[in-house]
Symmetry: C3
């Protein structure tokens, strides 16, 4: 078990893995730009006619249910099964699970039919998926009865994958081993799609370090958190913070990243 975000970032920038994203309409531009700013290559493709071909070129697949409809669900399942068969790492972002049964059911179906490597969501979404009571208002987690660290570990055990519960402190667990990440900034909550960006960057890190997915997931969240801390420095509000995030991701220095990452 080696946690070394700077080294993973260095590899990622050298290899420039392709990260195939089937994501929601709201954040497509944002997750593509975050992927590119970090140093990987994004591609968005959702047609049944091409998702299996596209994912075959990719180092990781990111599935995000933020603006679902049946053809997109079908595409996610097709791409997910193809990625599973090729042992390509898969991230699932269950946006809004708990708010409507369509979202909850779709997230469960993907977890059942696809070899999800990392499930990344907020506490309400993850709690919903393991049957714990939670309040999800739209795509925001309002309240859960769970302690986040315990929720991540319990969900990891119950779902048989790595679970990343993000919030003021992020908790990443495979059910046996757990890591916490204390980087980030409260302005992240003021910009839509920052959770989706965290999922996209998790895909990038998995593509660079597929053999240690627990570490890769924690490194991704720490890296995004450090970039957020940098972006907050000169921000006047959510608009300039959002712009600064891309500048900060592109400017990340692997060596100082290792020093600044607060992974335990």
């Amino acid at each position: 078990m080696t946690v070394a975000p700077g080294e993973t970032l260095r590899m990622l920038r050298e290899r420039k893995p392709l990260v195939h994203q089937i994501t929601n309409y709201v954040v497509m531009n944002e997750t593509a730009n975050a992927t590119l700013a970090l140093g990987a290559l994004p591609v968005m493709a959702h047609a049944r006619e091409e998702v299996e071909d596209m994912v075959a070129l990719a180092g990781a697949l990111v599935l995000n249910i933020g603006t679902l409809s049946p053809p997109w669900v079908e595409a996610m399942l097709l791409a997910g099964r193809a990625a599973s068969a090729r042992r390509i790492s898969i991230v699932l972002d269950p946006v809004g699970a708990g708010a409507t049964s369509y979202r909850t059911d779709t997230a469960r179906r993907i977890l059942a039919e696809v070899d999800v490597t990392v499930l990344r969501g907020n506490a309400g979404e993850v709690a919903t998926l393991v049957g714990v009571q939670a309040e999800v208002r739209g795509v925001e987690s309002i309240a859960t009865g769970s302690v986040p660290a315990e929720l991540a570990a319990a969900a990891g055990r119950s779902l048989g994958c790595i679970v990343a519960v993000t919030g003021p402190i992020d908790h990443v667990s495979d059910g046996r081993r757990s890591l916490s990440v204390a980087n980030g900034h409260e302005l992240l909550a003021g910009v839509t799609g920052t959770g989706c960006m965290a999922s996209a960057l998790t895909g990038c890190f998995l593509a660079a370090k597929p053999d240690e997915p627990l570490e890769a997931a924690a490194e991704a969240l720490a890296t995004f958190g450090v970039a957020a801390e940098d972006a907050a420095h000169d921000a006047k509000g959510p608009g300039s913070f959002h712009v600064g995030l891309y500048d900060a991701l592109a400017a990340l220095d692997p060596e100082s990243l290792d020093v600044r990452a607060r992974i335990e």
Copy 2:
């Protein structure tokens, strides 16, 4: 009749209402971020499978026809009828009505089948919907024969809802009472989707003040206009103005908003 945008903003930030938006692909990120910057919670959901569930959680529904297709029209009608039945406030933004008959017919159909609280459009779009001659080029109002204040009042009477005709001066009327709003900045015309943002913020204000929708609509436009004035201050052009809009919305101070709002 109380016009008090600062007080409404304060309530909105305290209650954080969920604003369900079925809107166009071009502006989804922008209207979500404007909603969030103001202090409400956006959610975008358009699948027939979930719109009725989602709108049941919402304080307001915003329907925007900017990039229509049949499944989206169906979703707007389903969500709109569910919101009508629950007496949830509804904003309709008839983007491009007058440019193609598909847009004009869809806007009319929504007005007929849904209890629209506020119709917000430019002069050309609104004129089209009440049968007045207008030139709409794509999504821009080029010319109408009407005086905007009279158009808003006539449309309010004819459509039986509140009509907000936005432009250099905004005019809001329910056909009997009318308000004008003199806030804003010409840079708003240089960024795509600022009209759509105005509609989204109208939804936020209706969610906070559902019992006085005429006042709420005028307050929303004044608030957006004041934010635009702030954003224009340091802008070098449409790009930095756009970013500054989110910063300005988040930084709005309720007390000075009451002083600066030019609602008559």
Copy 3:
């Protein structure tokens, strides 16, 4: 043959042509804002029910296959045939051709069934479409065996339209005459959708100067490149560069544009 980007820009800003874009979800906001910042009017419409009506109002049509699915392909063909019949200029951006056969086949089908005026792509995409070996990873051109200037000329001859191969130097050719454009900045590669913006601006220039499409295409690329040079000046990274691009497009001065354009 007159190359005069400043004069074309002046005409464009005076006439404000409508540019109908059927483009991908990732860049819709970006290409709309670039179109608006330059001085033209964008409209996005993709429903089979309205594309023929909408394109009839337009000065140019831009087709972009970045996030394809069958209803969108159908809409592109309908709009493209209607534009061909009316002799409206058409730009095709074959995003990701070569990455999947669905994209390659769709781009070929559009080229066969629609009178494309300008095909604008990267070297890998264009090479794929003329049967030259190329490596396309997602939507990035990784390698081709061709010299770009020769590729543009050969593609222009073989496809019977103007071909713009963009890269560090852009090459525009109708197969007989060729122009090269040496403006631009490496930060363009760090923001998603800048190629799509170049295609959108090519549509704007064609709308302003339909009778000299080779010159118009080169002028568009030079203009976008000059704006990129300006935006790079104060940029701290890809985020602030992206924002600065819109400011720079809006601030372009026609006279200095003529001096700074490096078209040969």
